[in-house]
Subunit: 353 residues, 2 copies
Amino acid sequence: MIDAGIVRVVVQDARRRRGMRDVAAAAGVSVSTVANVLNNPAVVAEATRSRVEAAMDAIGFVRSAAARQLRGLPSRLVGSITLDQSNPFYAELNRGIEDHLDEAGCMLLACSTDLSPDKELRALRLLEEQSPRGVIITPTGEQPQRLTAVSSRGTPVVLLDARQAGTDLCAVAVDHELGGRLAGEHLIGLGHRRIAFVTAGPDIEPVRQRRDGLAAASRGRDRRQERAADLVELRMAPAGFAEGTDAVISAMLDRADPPTAAVCVNDVVALALIRGLEARGLRVPGDLSVVGYDDLPFAAHVRPALTTIARPIRELGRVAAELLLSEDAAGHRHQELVFRPRLVVRSTTGPIG
Amino acid sequence: MIDAGIVRVVVQDARRRRGMRDVAAAAGVSVSTVANVLNNPAVVAEATRSRVEAAMDAIGFVRSAAARQLRGLPSRLVGSITLDQSNPFYAELNRGIEDHLDEAGCMLLACSTDLSPDKELRALRLLEEQSPRGVIITPTGEQPQRLTAVSSRGTPVVLLDARQAGTDLCAVAVDHELGGRLAGEHLIGLGHRRIAFVTAGPDIEPVRQRRDGLAAASRGRDRRQERAADLVELRMAPAGFAEGTDAVISAMLDRADPPTAAVCVNDVVALALIRGLEARGLRVPGDLSVVGYDDLPFAAHVRPALTTIARPIRELGRVAAELLLSEDAAGHRHQELVFRPRLVVRSTTGPIG
DNA sequence: ATGAAAGCGCTAACAT
DNA sequence: ATGTTAGCGCTTTCAT
């Protein structure tokens, strides 16, 4: 309520964001001319344009993405939901996504779920409120219908390291069944007949697929042998590089017929296992051959260097981003891309002694 | 233009986002009642509230962050600009940031600069358009005034792994001078008198500080000795774990008085150096003692295990996020927090042979 | 307890 | 070539 006797003093607030109206005022033009300078510069007279641009610089104009969004323009934000962005695998994945998004002027909103369906749901909700251009997700596997719901509300969803499984979404996957089989066949080829599968943490889909592949190899693919190898299943405490390996190693060695080789669910578990064995005076691959999974950067540089199953991590991210940004193109069809992992033989596997 | 003779048919577009208006229509109330259910539920009659909530679920209502922002409510987005989010150090930092943001319902927008001032500027611009709650940045070091400009326009900026240096911004820093000195004193204590400082990539501020600290140690802190050790400076090709080490090792060993120890700018460089030495049949620490920096997760698990300078990485991120979110509190004063790194002695350093 | 209406900064359709 | 204006979805103030 302004008393008629009081002169209203407008205090210049330095922190206030300057908008197109401020630019227009400073340049002595209308807002639509400012809009034209921004969106359709060809149509503006040279002199006017430079005057407007000067005004923008002078007052520190920054376009409001919120306002553009409200007008219906596409968002520059893309969500990424991974199990843990500090995990070197997902960090690399996110970088691949970022690299592609950057070319399109988009940015990455990175969330971690720690494999909790609750955190996943929360992240999805928060992301959806931002009306992102889309969401790339490494799903925990629970409640896949939550993802199709997001998609049906207009936010494209791309699955990463997961198969479509009837969700009708785009997906970028890795043939983990093949990965498991490659590991198994490599070991069987070296003469191993009792092989352990060492996991850490819950059995999410990609883990199950690796086990299936390993099991397929152990069953033997050619008809000459009844069964190529026996499989034993072991689960360590999920603890990064830490030494949760004692129980696993005991369980392995206390058997009447201890395995001579182990396929690990990832490189981190493989390294932990190797260190645990060393601590007991056992040698890799002398006493046990070990295969990792992922071929993280350190895999080639630990000693002994890790035999592992490699997949093109950054490329997976890049392709997922590409798929996502293409979702709004006319005639887009959901598709599933499956990458084939490959075996990298280094020094943690050897012939059965 | 609607011809009076034509009946306008509204086609239900499943992909259209449902807003508060849709909820209101479905529940038979006004938008302000819907708004009250959302923002001020106590004021709404029980029956009405549950009817509105049912309507929200039924039509799949998702609040628009853009519209709220436009109304002046605080954003839930926080930008993070690091040198490379796939680098395990920054990945861990981002996770620390994310963890704290999550408690406040905020999300992380992660950008990488690859140390390019251009990419940094671009990221800043894109971020600023999103009107984030603030930006946490590991600066490339070029054009610090760009950062104060952002800050003066109302987007709080927190420096990470950098000192304020007269910028009048909040900062979370590490005393790298101390880190360099700890490394140097450790080696000098072991009898080393010729020490190499091995870097990779440009000399950004944190690197300079480490060198300064190492130099201080080499100059000797107690008065009994004129000079504790000689320093030699070496720079490898910046190439991650890769083998850009040959030239450096040659440069080191071809000297008349080769160094007996090396302080590396980070753990990755240290590991690469160690592998390069091994490839030439040289032993660590037998022929050369090596100190890393950062204490990344793999440092304890490579062989020989890395002696290194540790800092609380995730904590740095968490504190930076905390500082950032506190910027809009009444009476906020910019502050600088400096963390003290510590020496972790493992197996890559030993007494001079 | 509920509703009407203005306005945040921008874009786009239209008018001049 | 430039200007006028409606409206995106929400919050908030002010009625009722």
